[in-house]
């Protein structure tokens, strides 16, 4: 079932990608909205406000009321401040985190209690031990599936994509929030090896989005897109911060995991909110009498004066390197499980039908294996994740003093003791079993993260190395005056940081570890291990989150990776698409139609003319469609008809003046026009093959009819969509459309065809189209490195390549991704980009530049002698230098 839901998710993502409004669109949308609001403001509230005040002053306690009003306004203005928002966010998230922790602890307690109460019968005990998590996980999976399938999984890959500027639908809604919180609580309450850290990033982001929508009821500040992105970035930090009570680590981890470029001015936001959140989170623990004062979550008590010997460093380095390989293996295993589920058709089809079977099955297997009286005794199966960490970070050395000696004093350490084996075996079994269990469990379609399970495995591995070292050097390595024994707990800390760093490709796990344990004395070993683990893991596999992004096919740009020098040598001209379709300023409607047929680009470049190719801007595909359909609309046809009738009646006018009149009427904004143009957009979107695309290459005769059907559907849905004041207008429009349709039916199809053919030969009137006047432009010689930087920095989707104002090509995310991945193969081998070698033998840059310029200049001298025309004509110029 996982595979099926994965596949579904992948599909859904691609759909959202199609529907997704990218930043640029959002920008223009925001602009329009702002303009509209400003206009409204100019129209209505301004004249009203003084009269309101006047009314108040005429009343009895007028000054009092004015004062109240001012106070209210002051408060509202304060609500708009960033820090109020951040405090609220921190507070809410701390409460959510604490409440969830409480609920999870209760759930786990209940399982323990059941298991303990039934100790008379092993079978009953087993039933209880296995059924409880299975029910919880199945409920979680089902609940999430029904309420909001977007809540499944970690959420960090999606947040990374959203912060990149892509709007993923339904990912920041209340429904998803509820599904994620409840689903996560149940999933973690089951005791499966799952984490809460990734989902918490998502929860915090949803919380921020909801909060900003709620606060925007008081003021208009929360409508700004740039600000919302900044707040989302802060929310990610809060998510990690209040999950681990690690404000600094939270901020850094969220930066590393979600951002490519980080605005330092957002830094304080993250710190502020995360600190406040962590503070409240820990204060709640004090208030609940769990703690005496604010301390770390997994406090360690290693000695301060001599934390480790210099000669222990190789052991730490070994932990780092091994963790690097382990982390890469974990990512690989996780991906392979997903891909296996997806590829095996029979499994896939079976799981498709029984969606909840896969989670239940996985839970059954895992909980059977951890059953304490059974195999669980060899892997400390009875410990919860938290207890495991506490014991692993323990100050004692387990190996040297034959385990039974001092183990009694702390109950939970008992779990690691097994009369039939020793500590080393238990640790090895624990690591091996938990490794595949975690990799498997994180593919269950419930809200869950992989950070904490990996963290625990890393700690166990570190402990194993530490215990081995302690057994090897019973009196420590340092043999001077004092005897400093080896602290295996320190190794566990190092291992935890290294393995989680390797899986997530982050360095900041080091900081998280310090904040979690409350001790920073092992800073150098931790840093060395984390960096080595990162170096190894990054050269072998993508990070877990990038892996999920690839599996889910989210629209994201891969990183350039560790120092790939050849990136500095690939240029835009090597990767750009040269054969692009464009719209010229003096083109005919027929050309528009042709362009729509021949390309699927979302944005079309608008050039001055096919000869000059000077880029003027870019126009959306939907806009072109709208232009075309409004030109061929039955309404216009009827208007022509009516005018013809009028002119035939007596007022015989020249043909050109009629056309002139038409064009004025079209552009002067009669009420029908905008009303018609607006609903067209969603209509075009809803039907995958938009009307200009639908007819086959030869026949354009059905266009009018296809359009008509579209308009009919549209006219029918209109009143439900446009409520309130717009209703009357819509009604009128509908009536007029219907009326005109009836009139239009008087024309024969042949006449319609003739008329449409005639219309298609007219020049396009761009005055009503929305044009992005400054699409992003690159030059042919921009390096891949710089292109990647610019795309990441500005969250671009595509960019046009120009040469002295002339359009020569286009680069989109797809080409860029291909170029980067092409030279960065799976095994980390660096391959020379296929086209780079051609360039080495050609002429220098400046020469090429000047050649192009000279051509332009020549063209200007011999004023308008068209040298070459046609869409692909410009490639001829570039071939000698580019390829």
């Amino acid at each position: 079932m996982a595979s099926e839901s994965e596949a579904q998710r992948a599909l859904q993502y691609e759909q959202t990608l199609m529907y997704g409004r990218y930043t640029q669109d959002l920008g223009t949308f925001a602009k329009d909205e702002a303009a509209r609001l400003r206009l409204q403001e100019g129209d209505t509230p301004r004249p009203r406000r003084p009269s309101e005040l006047l009314e108040y002053t005429q009343g009895r306690c007028a000054p009092c009321r004015v004062c109240t009003l001012q106070c209210q306004r002051f408060l509202i203005s304060k609500v708009g401040e960033d820090w109020v928002f951040l405090i609220l966010l921190g507070l809410v998230m701390a409460l959510v985190s604490w409440a969830m922790d409480f609920a999870i602890a209760t759930c786990l307690q209940a399982q323990k209690w059941m298991y303990g109460g039934l100790d008379t019968n092993v079978l009953l005990q087993y039933m209880a031990w296995v059924t409880y998590p299975t029910v919880l996980i199945t409920f979680s999976a089902g609940f999430t599936q029904i309420l909001a399938p977007q809540a499944v999984g970690s959420g960090i890959p999606e947040m990374k994509t959203i912060l990149r500027g892509v709007v993923l639908k339904e990912y920041l809604t209340l429904k998803t929030f509820v599904a994620k919180v409840i689903g996560l609580t149940c999933a973690l309450g089951s005791g499966m090896p799952l984490g809460k850290e990734g989902p918490f990033v998502h929860i915090a982001s949803m919380c921020a989005a909801l909060l900003s929508r709620f606060l925007s009821l008081f003021g208009g500040f929360y409508e700004n897109e740039a600000r919302n992105i900044e707040m989302l970035a802060a929310a990610c930090a809060v998510g990690v911060g209040c999950c681990f009570a690690a404000p600094i680590g939270g901020v850094l981890f969220s930066i590393e995991v979600t951002s490519t470029f980080f605005a330092v001015r957002n830094y304080w936001r993250g710190f502020f909110a995360a600190t406040f959140s962590a503070f409240i989170f820990r204060v709640l623990a004090v208030w609940n009498k769990d703690e005496e004062t604010i301390t770390a979550l997994f406090k360690t008590r290693f000695r301060l004066d001599f934390p480790f010997d210099l000669q222990e460093l190789p052991a730490f380095a070994v932990i780092g390197i091994a963790s690097g390989f382990g982390g890469a293996l974990f990512v690989y295993l996780n991906r392979k499980i997903v891909q296996f589920m997806r590829r095996q058709k029979t499994i896939n089809r079976f799981l498709m039908k029984k969606r909840l079977l896969f989670p239940a099955l996985v839970t059954l297997i895992i909980s059977t294996l951890t059953f304490p009286p059974g195999f669980g005794q060899f892997m400390a199966g009875q410990l919860t994740q938290k207890d495991t960490l506490v014991t692993l970070f323990d100050n004692q050395t387990w190996a040297k003093q034959g385990i039974s000696d001092e183990f009694e004093y702390l109950g939970i350490l008992e779990a690691w003791r097994n009369p039939r084996s020793n500590v080393f075996v238990t640790l090895v079994v624990f690591i091996l079993m938990k490794f595949w269990m975690s990799a498997l469990a994180t593919t269950i379609p419930v809200p869950c993260g992989a950070f904490m399970p990996v963290f625990v495995i890393g700690a166990a591995f570190g402990r194993l190395v530490g215990e081995s070292m302690a057994a090897w050097f019973p009196d420590g390595i340092h043999t001077d005056s004092n005897i400093y024994r080896i602290v295996p707990g320190g190794y566990a800390v190092v291992g935890a940081a290294a393995l989680s760093g390797a899986v997530t490709h982050t360095v900041s796990t080091a900081v998280i570890v310090f904040e979690l344990t409350g001790q920073i004395s092992h800073i150098l070993p931790v840093m060395i291990a984390v960096i080595l683990a990162n170096a190894v893991a990054q050269s072998l596999q993508p990070s877990l989150y990038d892996s999920i992004i690839r599996i889910k096919k989210l629209p994201y740009l891969p990183e350039l990776g560790w120092g790939h020098h050849e990136k500095y040598n690939v240029r835009v001209e090597d990767i750009m698409v040269r054969d692009i379709h464009y719209v010229t300023l003096n083109c005919k409607y027929r050309d528009l139609q042709q362009v729509l047929h021949s390309t699927k680009m979302k944005n079309l470049p608008l050039v001055e003319s096919a000869e000059s190719m000077i880029l003027l801007g870019s126009i959306e595909r939907t806009q072109v469609g709208a232009l075309l359909s409004s030109q061929l609309s039955p309404q216009r046809r009827l208007m022509t008809l009516r005018q013809k009738v009028l002119s035939e009646d007596g007022h015989r006018l020249s043909d050109s003046s009629i056309r002139f009149q038409i064009s004025t009427e079209t552009s002067s904004g009669t009420p029908a026009r905008p009303a018609l143009r607006k609903p067209l957009k969603p209509a075009l979107k809803r039907v995958p093959s938009s009307p200009p695309d639908s007819p086959p290459a030869g026949g354009t005769d059905h266009t009018g009819i296809a359009l008509k059907s579209l308009f009919c559907a549209n006219a029918a849905t209109e009143p439900t969509e446009a409520q309130g004041t717009a209703y009357h207008k819509a009604k009128r429009v509908r009536i007029s459309i219907v009326e005109e349709m009836i009139l239009g039916d008087k024309m024969t199809p042949a006449e319609i065809l003739e008329w449409e053919e005639q219309q298609l030969d007219q020049l396009v009137d761009f005055s009503s189209a929305k044009i992005d006047p400054a699409p992003f432009q690159l030059v042919e010689h921009t390096s891949l490195h710089k292109t990647h930087t610019i795309f990441s920095l500005l969250g671009l989707d595509h960019a046009f390549v120009t040469s002295i104002g002339r359009l020569v090509g286009m680069v989109s995310l797809k080409e860029l991704r291909k170029a980067i991945e092409g030279s960065l193969t799976g095994k980390g081998v660096k391959v020379r980009p296929p086209l780079a070698s051609f360039r080495d033998s050609t002429a220098s840059t400046t020469e090429a530049d000047t050649t192009a310029l000279r051509q332009l200049w020549d063209r200007h001298q011999h004023h308008h002698m068209p040298r070459e025309a046609g869409p692909g004509g410009d490639d001829d110029d570039d071939t000698p230098k580019g390829e």
Copy 2:
């Protein structure tokens, strides 16, 4: 003298700004270089390599040699790897840091020894106490002044500017490196309240620059500009990291202090290098038997189980807020001292003459006041900075147990004990005195930072609060079962982080503090105090580094600050310069001359024509000058003359064919042309008023003569500049120039004038000019917020504002800075930008867009009917919507 040198520095900066090559220029330069190298590679080594190999294979131990060659090549390729570079950088910096620490400690030891040895005579003691630092500081100031005045000061503001993309001359050279290292060692050895952290950022950056230049001897990897910037960013982290042995804090502090936008892919570089550097730095201490193992620099030993009570948090908050005010006051005081010195003409003039008097005077005053038997006894004057910090972070409580009781056991704590006063008085005096002393001392023109002095003051303030709390609650606040006494050392840690955070406007001082003390138990108090201090300080004053940037007038963009909402409402059209001068594609040389006369812009926009105003690219001012001067060069004049003579001889050709011939000759690249054009650029640079600027508005007759003199000077310097193979070519060119000059003298000035007038009427041939084909473009409706982001992200200097390809204005750093500072006045009051109110009442965005487009379209319809011409013509279109 400080003021004078400050003034000089300011001037010098402005000069560097003028000469400074911005990123774009560097980009093109790099491109040309790359092209040149590629060509060379294509020409020479490729054919040679096989022959070399052939030679080897013909020899005896051929396979062996081939193997050696391959090994060598492999090693060279490895040298190009980032991590090799970073390890080398870390190693070198750790060694430098350790050696400097050692030298400084020796210097301070020497002073103590002198002072201790002369305890028989107070006067002699005083002489020794005062003379020693005065000599050191004076030497440091003099040495720096002579060797490299760029080494003066912190260096962080300059690094911030350099990382912004501006090239500051002479800031990353070996000379500056030597001056900074030796100057800093002497300055810190004097015992003045100065820090080493800012200069260390600068030293590390210089080290990286030198190292990359050194390593580029082995391979070509280090020539890439983008990579160098990335490496500089890593170097900044190394600087802080190896100064405090704080890798994480170092990375974060350097990011906060130097970057506006941070590329997360650089993150690991900083961490890697800083960790390695800190590791080596601490290993050296172990190796030198200073430490038993790797520990923190200022290790604290606070209790772990109950670090602080929840009810102590208000006290920590008070420290934070007070530190915020204190930090702002420090920055204010520092700036005022500099400005006072600069303004007071008499002082200024006096200090101008005796440059070393100011440092000597300041040192004299400060060391007199700290003289331990004198006033120094009330402020622990005998302690070095390091000792002061150790005592302030001490675990003991000073106030409760009457000081004399347990103080004996630790020698240096003695300094805080004074029989004539108590600890509180000593602390207050210490804080007050050190405050102004540090603010004054950091204005001395020696290499020095302000971080450490501020850190010490903050620690003292924290200690004061902590001691007060300890005196107030002798048995701690928490009154349950256990008695937990208050730890004043913890307050000192909080105070240190808060005050240094307030002065530098950074949050990462918290992390630095944890790493310095090796304890993270106070994380929440520290975070709360640092955030509060930042909030207060940022609303009152710029950071110390930004303040220095303003004082020095470095080309830097101010930050947008804490959530200024109105930034989202200002648009580019409100701040752009509309009346810009431009070059058209079909202009005449006379127009070029006019443009050069009328504007001082460094980059001129190139438009298609004055009617269309379609932006084609930008051309550098120097390029325009070069075009103009090559057109009016005596050489061309002579060629015309010769041709005229030839044609008069018999081969009578039409005038146009002569012109054609000339133009071919000019552009086909005769040996004389490139050779002439190349030296022109430096010549134009060297003379501030370039030849096309020099003649007054009316007379252009001297141009030829001015040019001639330039060429003469040029021809004379040529042989010294172009050595080796270029020599013969240069000689030939010189001869031809001289020959032609003689020929040219045959023309009378009137004839020359006539010829030049004639030449100016010709159309410009842009084929030889370098044109940036994709200058950065904005749209009128881009928000200030977005503009700021884009400028910061891409390190822009200026951007053209276009409307559907048509140039309508321009925004440069200056306008942007004005716009930001205009709405962000000194007192932190938010003012509405002056032009924003005009916009509210005008039409919506889309309408304006379509209007402009319609005009373009109309123009196209009525093909080339010039509506308006002239440089300012376009303002008319924009006025109704823009203003």
